[in-house]
Symmetry: C2
Subunit: 205 residues, 2 copies
Amino acid sequence: MTEQKATNVHWHDGDITREDRQRMMKQRGATLWFTGLSGSGKSTIAVALEARLFEMGHLSYRLDGDNIRFGINKNLGFSAEDRTENIRRIGEIAKLFVDSGVIALSSFISPYCADRDQVRALHDDAGMDFIEVFVDCALEEAEKRDPKGLYKKARAGEIKNFTGIDDPYEAPTAAEIHLHTDQMSLEQEVDLLIAYMQERGILAA
Amino acid sequence: MTEQKATNVHWHDGDITREDRQRMMKQRGATLWFTGLSGSGKSTIAVALEARLFEMGHLSYRLDGDNIRFGINKNLGFSAEDRTENIRRIGEIAKLFVDSGVIALSSFISPYCADRDQVRALHDDAGMDFIEVFVDCALEEAEKRDPKGLYKKARAGEIKNFTGIDDPYEAPTAAEIHLHTDQMSLEQEVDLLIAYMQERGILAA
């Protein structure tokens, strides 16, 4: 923290802007939108990227089921309409973080192209970076991992409308980053994401 | 930005936590919840506080009608139910910012005690600072200012359920900060808020 130099000095050029905050944070706010099947590794990658960014002195914040589904979106279920509203709200929250100068890391299955494209459009309209990261993993592999036992329940019919089983996953066709998680180590994936963010100017190179 | 020292160094103690982010940011995440009549000066004070915090090297972010009502809450109107949902969502978003290490400055009329108390409880349950700031201004004075011409429209019956005219404003009874805006300058108000945040340990003294 820089100590305040005088109590009677004020900012005279109007409201503090996104650019001001970004200058102070030495980074550009941006949304990295991880999409992929349950068990594909979205959260694992987001957690590892968050740690790397932290080591580099950057502030990022993860949006995931834990802090969204049990918080702001606890009044939403899994109907098609609610899934769309779920993603819309997450997109709007990510935008607020971008505006604040923070790097938002969103990891949700977000299976529908139209929903992801809506979030992209929200960012585009505001001149904000939206980076779609396709966490690509074969269904067979994700189902074999089944870290939360959800595929087993879905196969047994205990969970309905489960993505990959009885609800579609619409793979991105033009994601900025396509991670083949069966061909790369976690460290290589994080390296790639950092390099991309530097190239794009979100982080200083 | 601190330059990354090695590409193969990783954070091994698990996820980055709120405490980690706060240490990096040299501040504690917190919500300052400005409540008061339309025209009472909530946004003016929040803007001035944001500027002062920025000069001190602190990251805050304002939540207000511009970025909330036209964004995440654009599907909400002004019925009692929608007003409650509006405030609930803002409270949840403020919590996310607090968790990220940012100081959230929320300025909405938020006329109902029960709604504000719900947001306070959300913060209390998560061990987060919630600071209610009552921006106190007589209705006559707010109506005289009428910066957006809304009181005039409400008196003419063109706006229904307008707080202070035909919808109640429930004044806080136990706000952490009570600003009598007719007795203090903007600078004094900001001084008072900064001093309170330092005393409470949100900012270093």
